[in-house]
Amino acid sequence: MPRLNGRRFILQEQIAEKSASIPSSAKLLVAEDDVPLAQFLKRGLQGSKYEVDLVHDGEIALQSLNTSKYDLLVLDLNLPKLDGMALLAKIRPSMPGLPVLVLTGRTGLEDRIMALDQGADDCLLKPFSFNELGARTRALLRRKNNGCGRVLQVGDLVLDRERFMVERAGKRIDLTSKEFSLLEYLMVNSRKPVTRAMIMENVWKAPYDANSNLVDVYVKYVRDKVDMDSPVKLLRTIRGIGYVVADN
């Protein structure tokens, strides 16, 4: 293989490592009307071990999204029959959690702003680097899995939102409904300290009352169940601020 100058070559090697290390069982829908570009994207993304379906117009894209479950949509704005912007408007109410990466050949800033406001999560201007598309795809999937995905994980603590189940090191932990919601909120914000007021507003949907120790009581319940049997304490108090769930 021809060697490029040192720095550029290292970058290529690093990208190859990142691409190879993704647990890519994700299923992607690519909606792109330019057939050679669409086929290239399919081939390239399959090379990153994603499952990829290809459609060339907006109506078929909509049908595919309604009949199959996808982890990410790569959407060209300039689609025939139903353009990308109209498609976004149709799918967002029913699929708020689907990450959408928009591709556009229009250089106008307005198009990109409109696409993001319409519900796109990210935007790439053509011509774009395939390596950048790959990195943005990984970032969107990572965000989905951390923030809005079915399963949240911090260290050996796993919370499954759909199955309403929590495990620590493979051992089941029984939580009440409120304890589960509290842990879920802390794990969605893992590694970021959250205040008692934030917990009160997001878990109890009520204004924070400084005279109440409700949050501290529930945090203790959760901590006793999650951390008691483990030498590594995941739920920690940040003095003067609140709480954090983190694995380091």
């Binding site: 293989m1 490029l4 290529q12 990208i15 190859a16 691409s19 330019d34 050679p36 570009l37 290239f40 994207l41 390239g44 090379g47 300039n78 050949g105 229009r106 250089t107 053509k126 011509p127 774009f128 680097s129 395939f130 390596n131 598309l133």
Partner: protein
């Protein structure tokens, strides 16, 4: 005799050229994206002469699409002159 204002006609003509140029530029972005990607992936993944040869052949196809775009832009430029 046409009642159309010559000023408006010129403006429409300029708008039409602008739209065409914008369309050609848009078309240019597609093969450029593929070409860039083919070269990036060749650097990352190609191992054998056959892999490189396939990348070159696919690149040539995209270059031919770029040449088509260039020729379209030339036609617009000639029409404008």
């Amino acid at each position: 005799m046409s009642t159309e204002n010559p000023g408006i006609r010129t403006e429409n003509s300029v708008n039409s050229i602008t739209v065409s140029i914008s369309e050609v530029l848009h078309q240019t972005a597609q093969p450029l994206t593929v070409l860039l990607g083919i070269l990036e992936l060749a650097l990352l993944q190609a191992e054998t002469i056959t892999d490189y040869r396939e990348s070159v052949e696919r690149s040539l196809f995209e270059v031919s699409r770029l040449i088509d775009c260039l020729n379209q832009a030339r036609k617009i430029a000639v029409g404008r002159a």
